[in-house]
């Protein structure tokens, strides 16, 4: 009991120590100076209330968990439902339904919603790409945003200096990112786990700093602006077409409406995300996909069976990077302006969170997690100060209740001959 009391007191004091300076004190301008003032009595009361709750929670920890256990065992998601949800056949149906809905709704949705959906699709692409590296090949990559940046800047620079269009630059951007992935792959091949994470983290930062300091080429911190949007077979969606081009609304004799542009961008993103989904889905079931997983499971056994770990790792890095490149060039086209600050470590962390939340290796899981991760901050705009708190809470809850992710990957079942 005394030990419980001790740890309960400790927890309560910890709550006070953490919460009071953050929530209980405020900076205010008094005349020309800043002064620290206490928050309202209500806030202070809430903090003390929270500390008290924490105290009781820890003090009666055993009784509470006993109460939980004595209740009839009812899982958050029943195991049967969870199994059903992760069956490949169910996922395929789900995917089909999602695709149809995704194709139809933007014509009825609001402009803001379509815009957010486009952003979600970019993250779906990134999540699917990183899923190859982290989820399948088991190589923890914290610098994935570096490849995203390479893709974005490839398009932006080619467009800015040579006037290349989006559709030509898209494969080029993928190629450029893949090259970078390949080059990064070489030095890090010998590394695993934590060491690999640190080196890739450094790589992501190097790319960002490079872009920021190469002022002559990339415009430094100001970035590159006025990047062209994609066109539909040469038809632009701007109000006025550049020389030698035609606008979409003139060609089809429609009234100019800026929503068209948003919907078109959304559809392009959808197309790219679906292409990524299709390709990666196939990769999973190809020999190379199996080899990635085998490498994650046991590298030494792979070598003993004549699989070359170097090539397998490099291919995972390269292909994963290529998808980031595609996503990056689309991002540049959509934003019209890119700066190095779009590619901070936080982005890498979000993409990684999408992969982990969704369930390593699971594609539907990644899509779902991308929706949650991007939509949540948008919905929580009003609580912008506490957004990160919400993220953290979500992560902690996930790790407690569903450490395998929303929809963990299920192994494909291979039908043998002579079986029903």
């Amino acid at each position: 009991m005394t030990r419980n009391l001790k740890s309960a007191l400790f927890s309560a004091v910890l709550v006070l120590l953490v919460a009071y300076p953050i929530l209980g004190l405020k900076l205010d301008i008094v005349g020309v100076n800043l002064a620290v003032v206490g928050a309202s009595t209500n806030t202070v009361l809430v903090i003390f209330g929270a500390a008290l709750l924490m105290f009781l929670r820890v003090l009666y920890n055993e009784q509470i968990s006993a109460m939980w256990r004595s209740r009839p065992q009812k899982q958050l998601v029943s195991s049967r439902a969870s199994n059903f949800m992760t069956l490949p056949s169910t996922q395929r149906w789900f995917l089909g339904a999602i695709i149809i809905v995704a194709l139809v709704w933007p014509f009825f949705g609001s402009r803001g919603a379509v815009d957010i959906a486009t952003l979600i699709l970019i993250y779906v692409m990134l999540g699917l790409g990183l899923n190859i590296v982290v989820g399948l090949a088991g190589l923890l990559d914290l610098g994935y945003v570096g490849f995203y940046a390479v893709g974005a800047y490839t398009y932006a620079l080619l467009q800015h200096y040579y006037g290349f269009g989006f559709w030509i630059c898209l494969p080029l951007a993928g190629l450029a990112s893949a090259t970078f992935g390949f080059l990064l792959g070489f030095p890090v091949l010998r590394l695993r786990g934590d060491y690999l994470a640190i080196v890739t983290l450094g790589f992501g930062e190097i790319i960002r700093l490079f872009l920021r300091n190469l002022t002559d080429l990339t415009g430094g911190p100001n970035g590159i602006s006025n990047i062209e949007k994609p066109t539909l077979f040469g038809l632009t969606f701007e109000r006025k077409a550049a020389e030698g081009m035609q606008t979409f609304h003139e060609y089809f004799g429609l009234e100019y409406n800026s929503v068209n542009k948003v919907i078109f961008l959304y559809l392009v993103a959808l197309l790219l995300a679906l292409a990524a989904l299709f390709v990666i889905n196939r990769l999973l079931r190809m020999p190379i996909g199996r080899a990635w997983e085998a490498l994650r499971e046991d590298e030494i056994a792979c070598r003993a069976l004549g699989l070359n770990p170097t090539i397998i790792k490099l291919s995972a890095f390269t292909l994963g990077a290529a998808f980031a490149g595609f996503a990056g060039s689309f991002f540049a086209a959509r934003q019209g302006l890119i700066t190095p600050e779009s590619f901070t470590f936080l982005e890498s962390a979000i993409i990684l969170a999408i992969v982990v939340l969704g369930g390593m290796g699971s594609q539907l899981g990644v899509i779902l997690a991308a929706v949650v991760m991007i939509l949540l901050p948008e919905l929580l705009r009003e609580f912008s100060e506490y957004r990160m708190l919400g993220f953290g809470a979500l992560m902690v809850l996930m790790m407690i209740w569903r450490p395998q992710g929303f929809l963990p990957m299920q192994r494909p079942v291979m039908k043998l001959k002579g079986e029903r």
Partner: protein
């Protein structure tokens, strides 16, 4: 007399100041079962690691069918047909049994990116053949009903058998088993013995094994190599080894 398939001579492996293997030589003839025995820590597994390219031997030559292979990387030696198992089972535990077997056939499959993307007929054919081959071996090691179970959930003896089947997927010329009977019960050991016999007689595989189970070693080996403290101690047929005073001394200690 069949011709020698694997010949090692003067094999030495030094880790800093420790000479773990010193001048070991062995010859494995085609379609033979050769056993390597010796007390714990004698350097048997180190010899295995040298032969399969997991270590680069400090000195010595290894000839596979007359071709020197010492110093090659592990996967390169494996591709030449020298495939091994490990003392502790090293399956891909999260993957299903049949997937384990498919991975091992990687090198024999159509790995072209585009043909896999569009599922060309040649790709489908190669995948189908891989499945059939995997199925054939699952049946041979009596694991067909567990084909879609994750390998990590199989019983220990089953995992051992699956590992041997996985090696067979690579179409090896010489199969090196590192203590295949460790942890098996007598019945499973009998099955293993039958399986090794099957490999040699029906599939033309040469087997080199490390084993402590003397009953098994004596009954299936054509030839036995004894290693003690990194140095070769004796070399001969099971009968010769059984009666060799040096071997008895090394195993039982001086009387």
């Amino acid at each position: 007399m069949s011709r020698p398939l694997l010949q090692a001579s003067g094999l030495s492996m030094r880790f800093g100041g420790l000479l773990a293997v010193n001048g070991v030589g062995l010859t494995v003839n085609e379609k033979q079962v050769v056993s390597m025995i010796g007390p714990n820590g004698a350097g048997k597994t180190t010899v295995f690691n040298c032969l399969t390219g997991f270590y680069k031997p400090t000195a010595g030559t290894i000839l596979l069918d007359g071709e020197p292979i010492q110093g090659l990387a592990g996967h390169e030696i494996a591709r030449k047909g020298v495939v091994r198992t490990f003392q502790n089972v090293r399956l891909f535990k999260e993957m299903t049994a049949v997937e384990n077997l498919l991975v091992a056939q990687h090198r024999h499959l159509n790995t072209n990116f585009l043909s896999g993307l569009f599922k060309t007929p040649s790709y489908r054919k190669s995948e189908r053949e891989a499945m059939e081959y995997a199925e054939h071996w699952l049946e041979a090691v009596n694991l067909k009903e567990f084909a879609n179970r994750p390998a990590g959930t199989l019983a220990y003896g089953q995992q051992r058998r699956l590992e041997i089947a996985r090696c067979m997927m690579t179409r090896p010329r010489i199969l090196m088993l590192d203590e295949p009977a460790a942890g098996l019960n007598p019945k499973e050991t009998e099955d293993l013995k039958a399986l090794i016999g099957l490999l040699r007689n029906d599939h033309n595989v040469t087997v080199l094994l490390i084993e402590h189970d003397m009953k098994l070693v004596m009954s299936i080996s054509d030839h036995i190599v004894v290693i003690n403290q990194g140095t070769p101690l004796a070399d001969g047929t099971p009968e010769q080894i059984r009666d060799n005073p040096d071997v008895i001394k090394a195993y039982l200690g001086e009387a």
